[in-house]
C-alpha cells in the first residue's frame, strides 16, 4: 500500500480545475440554499445550460468569448422561467420542479429532436481552442516535483479557474455583507416576516435564483472548457447532490464554506479512489469482494450516507457557527 501516492492523488485532484469548478457551483448553491433558503435540486441544469450555450454558440460560428456570455444569459433566463411559477409557493415546489426540470432538460438535450442543435448523446467537442491558445505555458511541459506534477495545460486551467473562484467569492461576500444580503437571510429565516416588513420576497428569491443560475453556468462553462467536451450524460442529477454535500460539509450560509467543502470533498473522493485501487492491487480479499466499478459505486453510497449524517449531526458544517445552528426557530 502506497499511502503517499494516495495522498498525492487526493491532493492533485483537490487543487485541480474540476475542484475549482465545483467550488464555483457550490458558492452559487450556497447563495440559494445557505442564504436564501431556496431548495434548488436542479443545479446541474444551470451548469448544463451554461456549457451548452457556450458550445452551441461556438459550433454555430461564434467565438468562445461570445459563447460564454450567451451560456450565462441562458442560465439566467432558466432561473427566471423556473422561478416564476414556483417561487410564490412553498419551498417543496421549487425542489420538485427543479429536480424534474433538470432531468427533463437533459432528456431533451439528448433527444434526436434536439440533435441538430446539441448533437444528441454525442455532444459537442473542441469548442474551447480559443481559450487554450492563450495558454502561456507550453502544453506539453510538466510542472512540479517528482510525481507531484501537473501539465502546462492543467496549470493554465487551474490558474484561471481558481481566479474565477476568488472573484465569485468576493462578489458573494460583497452581496451578503450588504443590506441586500441581510434581506436574503431574513427570507431564509421566515419569508412571511420579511413580507410583513415590506420586502418583495418573490423578487428577492428570483434574484437569488437568477444570480445563482449565472454563477452555476460559469461553473458549467469551466468544466466544459477543461474537458473541451459537453455531453448530456455529464449532467446527471447526482452532480447536484454531490454539490449539496460540498456546501453542507463546508458550511451552508458561510462565505468560504463551499470552497473549503469542495477542497475537502475532492481530496477524500479521489484519495478514496486511489486507496481502493491500491488496496485492490495489494490486498487479495479486497479485490475478491469489490471490483473497481463496484468500489466507485460504494463511494457514491458513502456520499449519500455522508450527506444524511452531516445534515443530522453537523448541519453547520466545518465553517459554520455551532451557536447559530443551535438556535431554535420557534
Amino acid at each position: 500500500m502506497d499511502f503517499i501516492a494516495v495522498i498525492r492523488d487526493g491532493f492533485l485532484a483537490m487543487i485541480g480545475p474540476v475542484t475549482a469548478a465545483y467550488a464555483v457551483s457550490a458558492v452559487s448553491l450556497n447563495l440559494q440554499f445557505g442564504y436564501t433558503g431556496l431548495l434548488n435540486f436542479g443545479q446541474v441544469a444551470f451548469m448544463m445550460v451554461g456549457a451548452y450555450g457556450t458550445a452551441i454558440t461556438v459550433e454555430a460560428g461564434g467565438s468562445l468569448w461570445l459563447g460564454i456570455p450567451v451560456g450565462i444569459l441562458t442560465a439566467v433566463l432558466l432561473g427566471l422561467l423556473l422561478g416564476l411559477p414556483t417561487l410564490r409557493l412553498r419551498a417543496d415546489y421549487l425542489a420538485i420542479t427543479t429536480i424534474a426540470l433538470a432531468e427533463a432538460l437533459r432528456l431533451i438535450v439528448r433527444s434526436s429532436w434536439a440533435e441538430p442543435l446539441t448533437n444528441g448523446v454525442f455532444g459537442i467537442q473542441g469548442f474551447a481552442d480559443a481559450f487554450f491558445d492563450l495558454n502561456p505555458f507550453p502544453g506539453g511541459a510538466v510542472y512540479g516535483v517528482g510525481t507531484w506534477t501537473v501539465t502546462g495545460r492543467s496549470l493554465w486551467m487551474m490558474i484561471v479557474s481558481w481566479t474565477v473562484v476568488l472573484l465569485v467569492v468576493l462578489l458573494i461576500r460583497r452581496l451578503i455583507k450588504s443590506p441586500w444580503g441581510r434581506v436574503m437571510r431574513a427570507i431564509r429565516e421566515d419569508e412571511d416576516a420579511a413580507r410583513s416588513l415590506g420586502k418583495n420576497v418573490f423578487g428577492y428569491k428570483l434574484q437569488s435564483l437568477m444570480i445563482g443560475g449565472a454563477i452555476g453556468a460559469v461553473s458549467g462553462i469551466l468544466l466544459a472548457i477543461e474537458q473541451q467536451n459537453v455531453t448530456p450524460d455529464a449532467y446527471l442529477p447526482r452532480l447536484t447532490f454531490i454539490l449539496y454535500v460540498i456546501v453542507i460539509l463546508g458550511g451552508a450560509g458561510t462565505i468560504l464554506g463551499p470552497v473549503i467543502g469542495a477542497l475537502v470533498f475532492q481530496f477524500v473522493f479521489f484519495g478514496f479512489d486511489s486507496l481502493m485501487a491500491s488496496a485492490q492491487a495489494n490486498i487479495d480479499w479486497v479485490g475478491d469482494i469489490l471490483s473497481p466499478a463496484e468500489a466507485g459505486q460504494v463511494k457514491l453510497i458513502l456520499v449519500g450516507v455522508g450527506l444524511m449524517l452531516l445534515m443530522i449531526f453537523r448541519p453547520q458544517g466545518m465553517m459554520g457557527d455551532l451557536n447559530e445552528s443551535l438556535i431554535d426557530d420557534h
Binding site: 452581496l175 450588504s178 441586500w180 434581506v183 431574513a186 431564509r188 413580507r195 410583513s196 415590506g198 431554535d328
Partner: protein
C-alpha cells in the same frame, strides 16, 4: 392632521356604524375554508388615531381577517381600503409599504439574525437593499441613520442590551417586544397586533400595554387582537366583537361588557367549552 380624542363619543354602538374619520374601511369581506365561513364582514370602519380592539372567541376569524386585509390571504369577495386607497389585489409587502404593518400570533422573529439586524430589515429606505446598491455601495449613510433609529426603538422597548444577540436567543416575551419594535421601524400609520400579550409574563404585559398606548400618542392607529377583557377595557377606545366571522357588536369598551349578544356569543361559548 389633529386627532380628536373624543371623536368616537357620539358614534352609536351598532355593528357597521360609520366613523367620523375612518382610516381603514372594509366592505363585504368574505373568506371561507371548505364549508367554514371564517370571515364574513359586511361593513367595518376603523377610526384614525385610536386603539381598536378586535375580540371574539377562538376560531372567530380574527387572524383570518388580519391575513386578508394585510394581503397575506385572498378573500373570496369584498374590498377594503387604507386611507382611501383600495387594497384589493395588493400584495402583502406593498400593504406594509403603504403604511399598514401587522405582527403574527405566533411570533416570527428572524432567529439567526441579530436583534439589530432584525430592526434593520424593517427599514424601508436603505438603498443597499437593491442589487445595484449592494454591488456599488453608497448605503452606509442610510445604514447609520437606521441604526440610530433602531437604537432609540430598542431603548424604548428595553432591548438595548440584546442588540447584538441572535433573535432566536430571546425569551418569548422579548420576541413579542422585538416584533412590535421591528414593526415600528417601518413607520406605519396603522399597526395590527395579533395577540401581542399571549404568553408574555405579567411584568412585561404592563410595559407592553404602556407601549401600545404610546403608539396612539404618536398618532398611530392600532388594531389589536386580545383575549383578556381587563386589558381590552383598560386601553381601547373602541371594541369590535367578531363571532363566526361576522361583526356581532362594536362600541366603546364600557358598552361591550354589558352587551347581551356578546355575552351570549362570546362568554356563553367559553362557558360551554369549559363544561366539556
Amino acid at each position: 392632521m389633529t386627532i380628536d380624542p373624543n371623536a368616537l363619543a357620539d358614534v352609536a354602538a351598532v355593528p357597521g356604524v360609520a366613523k367620523p374619520d375612518p382610516i381603514v374601511t372594509i366592505d363585504g369581506l368574505e373568506r371561507s375554508f371548505g364549508g367554514v365561513h371564517a370571515v364574513n364582514v359586511d361593513h367595518l370602519e376603523i377610526q384614525r388615531g385610536t386603539i381598536t380592539s378586535l375580540i371574539g372567541p377562538n376560531g372567530a376569524g380574527k387572524t383570518t381577517l388580519f391575513n386578508l386585509i394585510s394581503g397575506f390571504d385572498e378573500p373570496d369577495n369584498g374590498e377594503w381600503d387604507l386611507d382611501g386607497g383600495g387594497l384589493v389585489g395588493i400584495s402583502a409587502y406593498q400593504v406594509a409599504r403603504r403604511g399598514m404593518v401587522r405582527t403574527f400570533q405566533l411570533t416570527k422573529s428572524l432567529a439567526r439574525l441579530t436583534v439589530m439586524e432584525n430592526m434593520h430589515v424593517a427599514d424601508q429606505t436603505n438603498p443597499g437593499e437593491t442589487l445595484r446598491g449592494a454591488l456599488f455601495g453608497g448605503w452606509r449613510k442610510a445604514e447609520d441613520e437606521a441604526t440610530e433609529k433602531a437604537t432609540a426603538l430598542l431603548e424604548r422597548f428595553g432591548l438595548t442590551h440584546m442588540a447584538d444577540e441572535f433573535a432566536g436567543s430571546l425569551s418569548g416575551g422579548q420576541r413579542k417586544l422585538l416584533e412590535v419594535a421591528r414593526a415600528l421601524m417601518v413607520d406605519p400609520d396603522v399597526i395590527m397586533l395579533d395577540e401581542p400579550m399571549a404568553g408574555v409574563n405579567p411584568a412585561l404585559t404592563q410595559s407592553l400595554l404602556h407601549h401600545i398606548t404610546g403608539l396612539r400618542e404618536d398618532g398611530m392607529t392600532v388594531i389589536f387582537i386580545e383575549h383578556d377583557m381587563d386589558v381590552v377595557q383598560e386601553i381601547s377606545d373602541w371594541v369590535v366583537v367578531l363571532a363566526e366571522g361576522s361583526v356581532i357588536a362594536e362600541g366603546p369598551p364600557a358598552s361591550i361588557g354589558s352587551n347581551e349578544i356578546v355575552i351570549d356569543a362570546y362568554l356563553g361559548r367559553t362557558h360551554r367549552e369549559e363544561e366539556e
